[in-house]
Symmetry: C2
Amino acid sequence: MVKVTTLKDVAKLAGVSVATVSRVVNGHKAVADETRARVEDAVRKLNYNPNSIARSLVTGRTDAILLYIVQEDPIVPTTWSYELPIIQGISDFLRGKSWELQIIMCSNREFQEPGFVNDKLDRRNVDGILVISAWTVERHVVSELKKRQIPYILVGCNDPDGKSPSFEYDNAAATKALVKHLRGLGHTTFGLIGGANDQLHMQDRLRGFEEALESSGLPLWNRLIKQGNWAVESGYSCMKELLSESPQPTAIVCGNDHIAVGAMQAIRESGAEVPRDYAVVGFDDTIVAQVATPKLTTVRAPLQEMGTMAVKALHRALTKPESWTPPKVVLPCEIVLREST
Amino acid sequence: MVKVTTLKDVAKLAGVSVATVSRVVNGHKAVADETRARVEDAVRKLNYNPNSIARSLVTGRTDAILLYIVQEDPIVPTTWSYELPIIQGISDFLRGKSWELQIIMCSNREFQEPGFVNDKLDRRNVDGILVISAWTVERHVVSELKKRQIPYILVGCNDPDGKSPSFEYDNAAATKALVKHLRGLGHTTFGLIGGANDQLHMQDRLRGFEEALESSGLPLWNRLIKQGNWAVESGYSCMKELLSESPQPTAIVCGNDHIAVGAMQAIRESGAEVPRDYAVVGFDDTIVAQVATPKLTTVRAPLQEMGTMAVKALHRALTKPESWTPPKVVLPCEIVLREST
DNA sequence: TTGTATGCGTTATCAC
DNA sequence: GTGATAACGCATACAA
C-alpha cells in the first residue's frame, strides 16, 4: 500500500503540533498568520488530504447521504426514464459540495420488507436519507426510517398519512388539465388506460380523471377504464378492448406514453386515425412521445427539479437544522401539446 | 442524538472483554461455544451493529466502491438509456453483498480535467473504482486513477493504449454484422449517419462500417457519411442531405435508434417508404426502436451484463487480489431484426 | 496563539 | 480461549 500523509507528517514538517495543523485545515480563526502560512505550505508540499474516515469517527458526521432507488420488479424501461432525471437533479446539486452520495437500488417488495431499511442503515453511516419511489411507503418502513433520528425525505411518493417530508408532483391536477384540454376539443366520452395501479402515480392520475369527469358533469363509465401495465403491448390490448365497448370513447387518457403509443397502434389497425377519430394523450413526456407518429400530447413532470429541490432541502436540514422545517411540496406539471389531440 | 450501542456495551452485558465480542462479531473460531452464545445473545438484546467507520479506520478497508458516471454535457436522453442498464447490472451484483456504492456524475469535460479524479478520490475512501464512460480516458486521468494503488475498471471505454482493465462491447463487429445483413438483402450502396463522433462507440461503429464495405469490395463514398449528434432531429436533417446525394444510398446505417427514427421521418416525407425503398438500421435497441413505425432493426448491446461482469471482476480484485488478473474483455452484441430492413 | 492529552469504536497484537 | 492495550487519524477541551 502506498504511504499516505497524515496530520502528523504535516505537523512535523511545519514544526507545529497536530492540533494547529487541524485548526488550519478546518479554517479556525485562532491561528497566527505566520503559522498558518507555514502549515499551508507544508500541506501543499506533502499533498496532504484529511482522512475522512478518521474525521467521521470523531465528529460523528459522514457528509454522506443515502439514496434508496425503489424499483419495479422486474425492471421496465419506464422505470429508468423516471429515475434518472431525478438522480441527475440530485447529483447536479451535490456537485462541488463534497458530499458523498451512496445508492441502494431495490425492488419495492424488498424495500417494504420489515427490517430491510433498518438493515441497510445499520451497515452504513450516513447523515441523511432520500427515497425515490412510486409507491406508498408503508408505516413500518417510515418508522424504520425515523429510528435513526436522521433527516429523510421522500421523493415522488409519500406515506399513508402524508406526514413524511416529501417532494411530489401533482398527477391528479395534470390529468384534470388533460381532460379539460380534451373537452375544449369537443370530446365528451372519455376512456382511460392505466398502468400498474399499485403505484401512487397511477392512482392519482385515475383520481384526477374521475374527478375531472365528475366536475364536468360527464358520465364516468367503468367499462371505459382499463387497467394493464406500463408497456406498449398493454396499451395496445386495452385499446382493442375499448374499441369494442359502447359507448365508444373518443378521447383516451393513457397512464404513460408507452401505453398511448400502443393505443395508437390499435387505433391505426382498426382503420381509424389519430387525432381525426380519436384523441390520445400520454404521460411523462418521454422520448417515445416525441418519436411516435403522430407525436403525443403528454405531461411533463418536473423530475429533475424535484430531485434538486429534495436534496437541497436535505442539505439544509443537515447544515442548518435549527431553522429547518420538514418540506411537504407538490409541484405542478406542464402539459405538452402535440399532434395526437 | 440517539444513543447507539457499541462493543463496550455488549461486552459489559455479556461479561466479557471487547476483544472477545469483536471476535464473535467477526466470526473468529478461537472462541468457546458457551462464550459465543452469551455474546450473541447480548448482541441481539442490545441490537448491536458494528460501526463501519471505526472498523474502516483500523482495517484500512471501506467495503465501498466508487462509480464515476461520465456524461455528455448537456445530458441527452440516450445518455440515460445507456447508463441505467449498466448501473442496474452493477447494483444487482452488489445486492446482498453489503458493499457500498458511491456515485459521482460528471461531464466528460470535468472528468478529463487534470486533478478532478484526484480531488474526488482524496475526499472519499473507497476500495475500488468503476468508470462508466463513452469516451477515451486520457492518459493523465488514468495515471490519477492508478495513483491510489486501488483497482479500477473502465466500463464501456478504454485508455488510448488499451492497457487499462476494461469491459467493452464490440461496436465495430456489430456494425459489420449489420452491413452483412443489409448486403444479404441486396443493398450495395450504403450511407451512414453518425452521432457525436468524439465518442468511442461512434468511432468504432464508423470503423466497422468502413471495414465492412471495404472487405466486401463495395465503394465507400465519403459524401454518404454524415455526422451529426444523437438526436432525432439530427437524423432527420442528415437524411435530408443524403436524399439529395448521388449515388443514392438504399441502406442507411445510423449511429443510434433516435437518429434512425429521424431518418425514417425524412424518408417518409420524401414520399418513399421503409423498408420498400430504403432500409434503415439503428443501434442500442432502445424503446424507441420498438415503438417506431416501422419497428427498427437495431443492435442490442449487453449493457447490464457488462455492468455485472465489471463489478464482479472488481469484487474479485478486492477479495482475492493474489489470483486476480486485470480483465480486458470485449463482449459481442446481438442484432435484433425488425421491420425496417 | 499554541501544545498536550483524551476519546471516537474498532481490530489486532500481545500476553496470560 | 480470553483479556489488556496499543494503534488507526483526527478534532477538541483544556492548559499554558
